[in-house]
């Protein structure tokens, strides 16, 4: 029996160590994981995927912890994926989200996985999607994907969650500006965390105003703005209610199918982009035809677009 086969059979039987090992294979980009992912695909598709994003220090980890606790009181199982940046210089990462989730540790129905954003070439998107699918097949009712809202990949991933939560906090005027620029469009629910601080009402009002004037005009779903104090657990029941209401809306309006289709397309695209990037960078490092193309570029005999087209032909992409 191959390692992957053994792992997914154990995983489907509820073995947490097998799930964890399979996630490592996926993170390391091991080809062997393919077989397991293929087998698991038909067991996935049941979880409600919740994306959680917002700037550093806004309280995402604490909020993820509180959400999971709330779901646990309703006897639901939870998977949490925490993505933190990897140093582009050393390749190392310090992953500290668990520090904010201590109340969850020891609960076998909560599976927490810390992920470093790791290398270039778009491997992260592929890995996160795979880990979501693994935890989904593992039977988690809710999968919370927590990422710093910086970087295109992270935004893509939460964008294709069923429900995307954008977290902010009071007293960060520029914060709202940042949200306006990039992630206002993807938020299905907005949270003003640390709402016991000065200026919370102001931030709430600002956000509500922005939601009203959201680009694209009025949609069938108007994102609610929820005030929370995650540390004390305040407002978390309201947030859970809004997340559920959004999921009901998705199902009733038929938007869920659209979201799922969007996510599937994004998954395929991420995998293909990674394969193409890997093949191209390998070719460029290896010398041969690619090196000749680069030489011709240096001689100004060929432009980058021409070189890319020839390389694509050469690699049969």
């Amino acid at each position: 029996m191959t390692e992957a086969r053994e792992l997914y059979q154990k995983l489907l039987a509820g073995d947490r160590r097998a799930a964890a090992k399979l996630i490592s294979m996926v993170e390391d980009g091991e080809e062997g994981a393919r077989e397991a992912l293929e087998a698991l695909h038909k067991h996935s598709g049941r979880a409600h995927i919740v994306g959680l994003t917002g700037s550093p220090g806004s309280g995402k980890s604490t909020l993820a912890c509180r959400l999971a606790q709330e779901y646990r009181t309703r006897d639901k199982s939870v998977g949490i994926i925490c993505v933190d940046p990897t140093s582009p210089f050393t390749g190392g990462a310090l992953l500290g989200d668990r520090v904010r989730m201590q109340e969850l540790s020891g609960d076998p129905e909560v599976f927490i996985r810390s992920m470093g954003s790791r290398g270039a070439l778009g491997g992260l998107a592929v890995a996160i999607n795979d880990v979501i699918n693994i935890l989904d097949a593992f039977g988690k009712d809710y999968i919370i994907v927590e990422t710093v809202g910086a970087g295109q990949v992270e935004i893509e991933v939460v964008k294709y969650a069923h429900t995307c939560i954008v977290v902010t906090m009071p007293g960060a005027g520029d914060e709202i500006q940042a949200i306006k620029a990039g992630i206002l469009e993807i938020g299905d629910v907005f949270v003003v965390n640390k709402a016991d601080r000065d200026g919370a009402m102001h931030t709430l009002a600002d956000l509500e105003m922005m939601v009203e004037t959201k680009p694209g005009g009025l949609q069938a779903w108007k994102p609610p703005v929820v005030a929370t104090v995650a540390l004390e657990g305040e407002g978390v029941d309201l947030l859970v209610g809004e997340i559920a209401r959004h999921y009901d809306f998705l199902k009733e309006s038929g938007t869920l199918t659209k979201k799922i289709v969007g996510r599937m397309k994004a998954e395929v695209l991420a995998i293909l982009s990674l394969k193409v990037s890997e093949a191209a960078s390998r070719a460029l490092e290896d010398g041969g035809v690619a090196a000749e193309l680069v030489d011709r570029m240096v001689e100004r005999d060929l432009d980058p677009h021409g070189a890319a087209a020839e390389l694509a032909k050469e690699l049969e992409l």
Partner: protein, 132 residues
């Protein structure tokens, strides 16, 4: 793609001194490892569950409370119960040499790194043991 070394650093038991463990964490991170920090006051059960979920290669235990002879054997027993004794267990903090010897001989601890250890020695040891 190469395998990435994953390490879980923990503060088991009632011990609030985390300066040392954080320094070690930074050194391992700067050596290119993925370091997960658990935070303070972990029970053996919780940290073993975390080590399994995070699928780490190394479990680093920092104890300055004097309770190492109670906590560490409990942790390595739990790892064995979960068939996870392949996870390398390292200890640090204030652990007398005689206790360190017992922990390494009888309780599955790979190595004890005491005060004054050069963090590079920890990096070298981990990499060598993992064959990197």
């Amino acid at each position: 793609m190469a395998q990435k070394v994953r390490v879980l650093l923990c503060k088991p038991g009632l011990d609030g001194h985390d300066r040392g463990v954080l320094i070690v964490g930074q050194a391992l991170r700067d050596a290119g490892m993925e370091v997960i920090y658990s935070g303070l006051k972990q029970t053996p059960e919780n940290l073993v569950e975390a080590a399994i979920q995070e699928d780490v290669d190394v479990l680093g235990l920092s104890i300055l409370s004097g309770a190492h002879m109670a906590l560490i054997p409990r942790i390595t027993d739990l790892l064995a119960e979960r068939e996870a004794q392949d996870i390398m267990v390292l200890a640090g903090g204030v652990i007398p040499a005689a206790d360190a010897e017992v922990l390494m001989r009888d309780h599955g601890v790979a190595r004890v790194f005491g005060p004054g250890t050069d963090t590079r020695d920890i990096v070298t040891y981990v990499n060598e043991r993992l064959g990197i």
